[in-house]
Assembly symmetry: C2
Homo-oligomer: 217 residues x 2
DNA sequence: ACCTGAACACCGTTCAAGT
DNA sequence: ACCTGAACACCGTTCAAGT
C-alpha cells in the first residue's frame, strides 16, 4: 500500500503561525472524509499540517482524541435536524429522510461514532423530535418508543447499504450470473442487480413502517 | 494497549507436525471472534500456532488472505439456511430470523464481509430461498425484489444494533438523564432505555414489513 | 506556550538461508 | 516441502531538549 500513502495534500502554508486544535480537526476531517479512517495516521496528519508529529500530540493528546473530536463535530451537526411538513406522517417522514441524508454526507464519521459507542448521543436530537411528532398524534410510552426505534433502525440500515453500494457498484446487489440459469424470474434478478434502487428501498420501507405503525394523516 | 496484547492463548502443541492453512484459519477465527479483527496480528497468530511468523506467510500469503479465508468460511455457513413453517408468512419470517441469528453468532466476521464487499455473495443463498417463498404466493419481478431487499435491510440493521448493544449496555438506548427533565412522557424514555428490546424491535419491524408487503396467510 | 528530532515498541511483509 | 531469524518501512507514542 505504498502507493496510497504517497498521496497527500500540499502542506498548509504557515510561517511561524502556531497550529490550533481546531485546525488539526479540520485537516483530520478532510483526510477521513476523503480517504477513510485508516488513512488518518499521525504522521500524515502532521505532514498535511506542515508541522512535526509531536506538535499534534501537544495540541490534541493522541490519535484517539482526534477521532473523538471528529465524532463530537458530527454530534453537533445532528442537533440541527428539524421536522417539516403539515401532516404527522409527513413530519415524521421528513425527520427520517433528513437523518438519512445527514448520515450519508458524513459516512466515515458515522461508522466511527458507531464504533465508539456514541450512537445514542448522536441519535438523541432526532429521537426527541420524533417523540414530539408521535406525541402530537397520540402515540406515547412503550408504543412510541418502539416506533421510534424501528424508524431509527430503518434509517441506519439504509445508510449502511448505501455506503457499501457507493464503495462497490455491485455491492448489495447481485451478480445475475450467480443465480442458476434455470431460475425463472429473470425480472427479479435484474431488479436486484440495479444499484440505484436504494432510495426506493428506503422509501418503500419507510412507508411500510409508518403504515404498520398506524400513524395516519 | 500493551495489556490487551499480552493476553494470548497457549500455543498449539506441535512437535514437528507442520501447520496447515485450515489450522491457521481455525486459530485466526478464534482470535477474531474473541477479541475482534484488530486483535488479529500476524505475530499473535503465529504465536498462538506455536510457529514463526514467516511460516504463516508461507501457507496463506498474507494477512489479507487470512481475512478472505475467514469470510469464505462464513459464506459457506450461509448456504445452510432453510425455510421452515406451513404458511408463506411463517416461512419468510423463519428465513429472516434464521439469517439474523446466524449473523449474530458471527458478528465480527459479518462486519469483515461487509467491509470487503462480500455481502452480495453472503446474502445470495437467503435471497434465493426468499425469492422461492415469495414466488409461491405470486410475488415476482421488481415487486418481489423490493420486498426481498427490504427484509434483508431489516435483518442487517437489527444485527448491527444488537452488536452495538452487546458491546455497550447503554448503546442504542438513551441515558434518561439526557432528556430534558420537563419532557412529559417518562414511560417512553424508560422504554428507550431498555437494552433488552432488540428482539421485540426486530419482530415488530418484521411483522410490519410483511404486513405492508401484502403477504397474507 | 509551542515546536523539534531521537527513540521505543509495535506492525506487515520480504528475503536469504536452513532442513 | 516447510520452517527460521534478520531486516525493511511503516505505525503510535514518549521524552528531553530547544525557542
Amino acid at each position: 500500500m505504498s502507493a496510497a500513502s504517497r498521496v497527500r495534500s500540499e502542506p498548509v502554508d504557515r510561517d511561524g503561525r502556531p497550529v490550533t486544535a481546531d485546525e488539526i480537526l479540520e485537516v483530520a476531517g478532510n483526510i477521513v472524509e476523503r480517504h477513510g479512517v485508516d488513512a488518518l495516521t499521525m504522521r500524515r496528519l502532521s505532514d498535511d499540517l506542515g508541522v512535526a508529529v509531536t506538535s499534534v500530540y501537544w495540541h490534541v493528546g493522541n490519535r484517539d482524541a482526534v477521532l473523538d473530536g471528529l465524532v463530537d463535530r458530527l454530534l453537533d451537526r445532528m442537533e440541527t435536524i428539524r421536522a417539516v411538513g403539515d401532516t404527522a406522517v409527513e413530519r415524521v417522514a421528513s425527520l427520517a429522510r433528513e437523518l438519512r441524508s445527514t448520515l450519508l454526507e458524513r459516512q466515515h464519521l458515522v461508522g466511527l461514532a458507531h464504533e465508539r459507542d456514541r450512537s445514542p448521543a448522536m441519535f438523541l436530537p432526532v429521537q426527541q423530535a420524533l417523540a414530539a411528532e408521535l406525541a402530537s398524534v397520540g402515540k406515547h410510552g412503550a408504543e412510541a418508543a418502539l416506533m421510534l426505534r424501528a424508524l431509527q433502525v430503518h434509517v441506519i440500515s439504509s445508510v449502511l447499504m448505501d455506503r457499501a453500494a457507493a464503495r462497490n457498484a455491485s455491492h448489495g446487489t447481485v451478480d445475475p450470473d450467480l443465480w442458476p440459469a434455470n431460475f425463472v424470474d429473470r425480472e427479479l434478478v435484474a431488479a436486484l442487480a440495479d444499484p440505484a434502487a436504494y432510495d426506493t428501498v428506503f422509501e418503500f420501507g419507510l412507508i411500510a413502517l409508518l403504515g404498520g405503525l398506524g400513524v395516519n394523516d
